[in-house]
Every structure is written in structure tokens, then in C-alpha cells.
Amino acid sequence: MRKALSLVLVAALGLAGCSDDAAGKKDGYTIGVANFLLSGPYFSGMDAAIAAQAKTKGNVKIVSTDAGGDAAKLAANVEDLLSKNVDAIIISGGPLESAPAALNAIKAAKKPVVLVDRKFSTGEYTSWIGPDNEAIGKQDGEFLAAKVKGKVAIIKGGPADNSIGLARTNGLKSVLGTKSDITLVEASDFGNWGSDGGLTVMEGLLAKHPDLVAVFCENDAMCLGAQRAIASAGKTAQIVLAGVDGQAEALKAILDGTNYVVTGLNSPNVIGKLALDRTVEVLGGAKVEKDTVVPSPQITKDNASQYL
């Protein structure tokens, strides 16, 4: 799908990188970015943020690759980057749980590797920068616990990014599950991380549980669709929504004082920027923190304007 386009882009970037190397400058760095998939706005935003931050440095070149959701392709891309002799690699692993082949190749080449968003469960890496998804879920849970009593529904994204979703939902459950005045119901089908899916799942929930008072979605895109379904059913005054991510449309809905009441910021811009800085620090020989959790501030009507 996006593969063809990104291949062209990668080729263009690769060529740009080559010609600069040929110019013979050795005072700057070339950093390879291995994306597992660029198709979602979150991941393409991450890639763009890394590139933008590199530009501000002046002497850092970025070579970006897209594996189109194929783990074998990710390993091959990493090998290609290494053979281009990049100085370091940033891996945006998306829903991947681990990437042993890629990490081993980087280790063998003795290059530093910085992970963004996704921390692999196995293998060696230099540094990781990402969100604490369970904490974001807890945060939403605490907000809802203070606001509502009754039946709260959970809309899950599904297998495409399951462990991130599970962490968010588990965080929410760890708070709301202990409250005697709150009943949790989970939608049986997945919203597939998109607004259309969130809409359909919410319609089903409304038919089965007309007495809901709140909905938690594993990301903002699904909550935006769910908000439409709630509006169509005329239940805007009865049900509030809580999401995760800080998608622009969700921030706007929160700021406007709709029934979308809270989300937790998980910003690819912040993470991408920090990751590039971290990689440059490592290349400069600095001793860096191994794991860095990027704070995910709670966004409500009171502070939404500062994140828009």
C-alpha cells in the first residue's frame, strides 16, 4: 500500500545521504531510522519528529526506512542501514514485541541503538524512550472514578497493537475494578484503533447496555467515533468519554466542553524529539539513562488549550 511511496522516499533519502557522504564531511552523524510501519498517524508523526529534530542540529543526516509491518523486512532494512555505515539506529517498533534479528545485527556491528515508543521484551539496546501506557490507563481511571458512578464500558483496539492496548486497559481496571460503585463492561469486538470501528462497537454497546455512564477507549481515534454513536443515540448528556493519545480532534472536543472529558498525552512529537537528542548524546560519548519514561500529562478542559 504505502510501501511503494515510502520506497521511493527511502530511495530519495538514501541517495541524498550517499551524495553527502561523498562530499567527505566527517564532522556530522548519519542516523538510520528503522520504522516497523509508517501507516498510522502516530508512527508517521514519530518519524517526522525525529527528522525535524535532526534538522535543527545542522550536522545530523537521517536515513529513514519503512518495513510496512513486516518483521523480516525490518531486519533487512536494519542490515541495509548498517551496510550504509550509519553511526546509530533508532527503531520505532510499533506493535512488535521484539526484533532479535535486527538487534543482533546492530550489536554485531557495534553501533548504538535507541528504541522509541516500543520497548522490546528481549535483546540488548542502548536506550529506550517511550510512554508508560499502564499509567495513562490509571490516570483515566482515576479521573472517571471521581466523576461517575455506574456502568463503564471499555472499547479495545485489538490485535494490531495488543500489548499497548492491554497495558492501557489494565491500568484503567486496576483503578476502577476496585470501586464498588462502578461496573466494568468490555465490548466483545474490537474497534481496530480507528474512528469507524469505535463508532460500530459503541453502537453495539449502546444496544446491549443502555445504562452506561462512561466509556474508556484504548485510543482517541476510537473514542471520537464512539462520541458520534453516543450523539446519534441522544445520550450525550448521559455518557462521558475517556481516551488516550492526545489526537488533535480529541483535544478540540475536550476543549469545547463536550462529553469527551479526558485523555492522556502520548505524543510522538515529544518522544521523537527526545530520541534524536538521546542518540546524538550517545554518539557524543555521553553516559545516558537506559530507560526514559516520557510523562503523559492528563488533559482535561482546564489544560487542553496548551496542547493544541
Binding site: G158, G194, E203, G204
Partner: protein, 321 residues
């Protein structure tokens, strides 16, 4: 010509009877075992949720009747939706929507010309279109677009009495489309091409033009589905519609259409859509876990098709005699 008509009619009756039974059974089971099924909310959900699959299924049916396939419909849904949402900022809403539908028509026509004039395999042409059009949707906007004007939501949320407007639009497509296929010369030619293109050519009918027409109709339906879905959700995403073509094909096949062309009806395809939507709805109401839903849906599709198979030889023999 008369034998053809009788043959087609004979088969229609069989498929119809099977469907009326199956759908009645599903509804009775649903109504007696789930207290949520017969609620107004759930019935309205059903009416809304069948629209996208329904529109795509009719377009797909027309293409399948010619012996082709259109794998690009999901990507067209994404493209028409995101372009419409993007244009709303500069154009009046109806005009933006018209552009969305027109983009679907244009993509369909290109598919049709490549299949008919350049004699490329429909599977290959529309597979290439699937990736090209999906890529274009992302080129147009990588991020979701949410039009600020609340008027954009009207199409997707308007009700005519108890029935959603979009459901009426879909029913109109099936109604008009059914008459087009069964009673007009171009419609009958499309079906005949799938049966035996050479015979149709010898009868002096322009086969290529009818094939282009078929793919254009599919593009039109997908473009329409795209703007309806976007208006319903309120946000256009370039990633929407992945694998939508599968449900559309499944609906046609459940409805008795033959993938080798020449056999199938609008009524059948509509029945197929009803079966798919009812199965989905029921499994959700029972709280069946999502992975099991996928398994069950696949098994049910196979079962329905096997039932049809056992009915086929009799009518086949009648037709060929």
C-alpha cells in the same frame, strides 16, 4: 432468450426461498434468545451497519456478474471519504460529496478500461488499484480529517421516520440496480457477458463498453459508501476500509452469485448482506469474543455456500436442458 429468462427466474426463486428461511431463522433465534435484539436501538444499528457493506456488495455484484472482481473498493471508500472531508473546508458540502463520488466513478472507469480495452486480468488490475488508491488517500492526507461544519454529519445521521436516510439510499441502489440488471438491455448484457462473452459479442453487443460500465458502477457505489461512512463517523481516515472488499464479495457469494460470472441477483446479494450483518450483530449481542467471531463468521459463510451447492445441480440441469 426465453430459456435464459426462465433459468434465471427459476434460480432466483430457489435462492430466495433459502434466504427467507435462513434470515427468518436468524431473526427468530435472535429475538428469542437476546433481550437486546428487538430494541429500537439495536434495530436502528442493524439498519445503519448494513449500509457500507450493502453498497459495496451491489457494485461488486455487477462486476462479478461479468466474471470479474473489484478488489479496490475498500481503498476507494478511504479516498472518496478523505477527499470529501478535505474539500468541505473550501466547497459547499453537497459539492464536496459529489467530488468524492465522482472520484469513485473515475477510479472505476479506469479499472474498467484496463480490464476491457487492455484485456488485463481483473484480479491484477484491481489489486494494483487497491494499493495505488490507498497510497493516494495517504498522499492526500496522512492524518485524519474532521470537518468543522456540523452540516457534514447530516447525511450520515438524518432519519426519515424510523429509518436512517443512508439505509434508504442503499435500498434505492438495490431497488434501481435490481431493475437495471433484470429488466434493461445493458443490465441483461452484463449478466450475459459473464455467461459467455463470445456469444454476446457475436450478437452484436459491445462487450468492452459493458465491462467498463460494470466497473464504473462498482466505483460509484464505493465512492458513495465512502462519503456515507465519513459522514456517519464524522472523521475521515486514510486507513479506513481495509478488507471491506472481502465482506462485499462474501455477501455476493452467499447470495448465490458465481465468481465465474453470469449468475447472481440483486435480491440474492441483499440477502447475503442481511446474513452477514445479522451474524455480526448476533455474535456481538451474545458477547462472543472477537477472535471467535472471525472463526464463526468464516464457518457460517462456508456452511451457507454448501447449502446452496446442494440446491444448485437441480436448477442447473433444468437450465442446461
Amino acid at each position: 432468450m426465453t430459456t435464459l429468462a426462465v433459468r434465471v427466474r427459476g434460480r432466483d426463486v430457489t435462492v430466495e426461498a433459502a434466504f427467507t428461511l435462513l434470515i427468518a431463522a436468524l431473526i427468530i433465534v435472535a429475538a428469542t434468545t437476546s433481550e437486546s435484539f428487538l430494541t429500537a436501538t439495536n434495530l436502528t444499528n442493524l439498519l445503519k451497519q448494513m449500509v457500507t457493506t450493502g453498497l459495496l456488495a451491489f457494485g461488486m455484484l455487477v462486476v462479478i456478474l461479468t466474471g470479474g472482481i473489484d478488489l479496490s473498493v475498500g481503498s476507494v471508500v478511504a479516498f472518496s471519504g478523505i477527499v470529501t472531508a478535505g474539500l468541505v473546508a473550501d466547497l459547499p458540502i453537497p459539492l464536496a460529496m459529489l467530488v468524492g463520488v465522482a472520484s469513485g466513478i473515475a477510479f472505476g472507469a479506469v479499472n474498467g478500461v484496463l480490464v476491457a480495452r487492455f484485456e488485463l486480468a481483473p484480479f491484477v488490475v484491481t489489486l494494483a488499484a487497491l494499493t495505488t488508491i490507498r497510497g493516494l488517500a495517504f498522499v492526500y492526507s496522512e492524518v485524519p480529517i474532521a470537518p468543522a461544519d456540523p452540516g457534514f454529519l447530516t447525511l450520515g445521521s438524518a432519519m426519515v421516520g424510523p429509518i436512517p436516510l443512508i439505509t434508504l439510499i442503499m435500498l434505492a441502489v438495490f431497488g434501481i440496480g435490481g431493475v437495471f440488471l433484470a429488466r434493461t438491455p445493458p443490465g441483461r448484457s452484463i449478466i450475459a457477458i459473464g455467461g459467455n462473452a463470445e456469444t454476446v459479442r457475436l450478437a452484436g453487443i459491445d462487450v468492452r463498453r459493458h465491462i467498463v460500465l460494470a466497473y464504473t458502477i462498482s466505483g460509484l457505489c464505493a465512492g458513495l459508501a465512502g462519503i456515507i461512512l465519513t459522514s456517519r463517523v464524522g472523521i475521515a481516515q486514510p486507513s479506513v476500509g481495509v478488507a471491506f472488499e472481502l465482506d462485499a464479495i462474501a455477501a455476493c457469494v452467499i447470495g448465490g452469485a458465481s465468481l465465474s460470472g453470469g449468475r447472481g441477483s440483486a435480491k440474492g446479494a441483499f440477502g447475503g448482506v442481511l446474513v452477514l450483518v445479522l451474524i455480526n450483530n448476533l455474535l456481538n449481542l451474545y458477547g462472543v469474543q472477537s477472535f471467535w467471531q472471525q472463526v464463526l463468521k468464516g464457518l457460517i459463510i462456508i456452511a451457507v455456500i454448501l447449502v446452496q451447492r446442494t440446491r444448485r445441480p437441480r436448477s442447473e440441469a433444468k437450465g442446461r436442458a
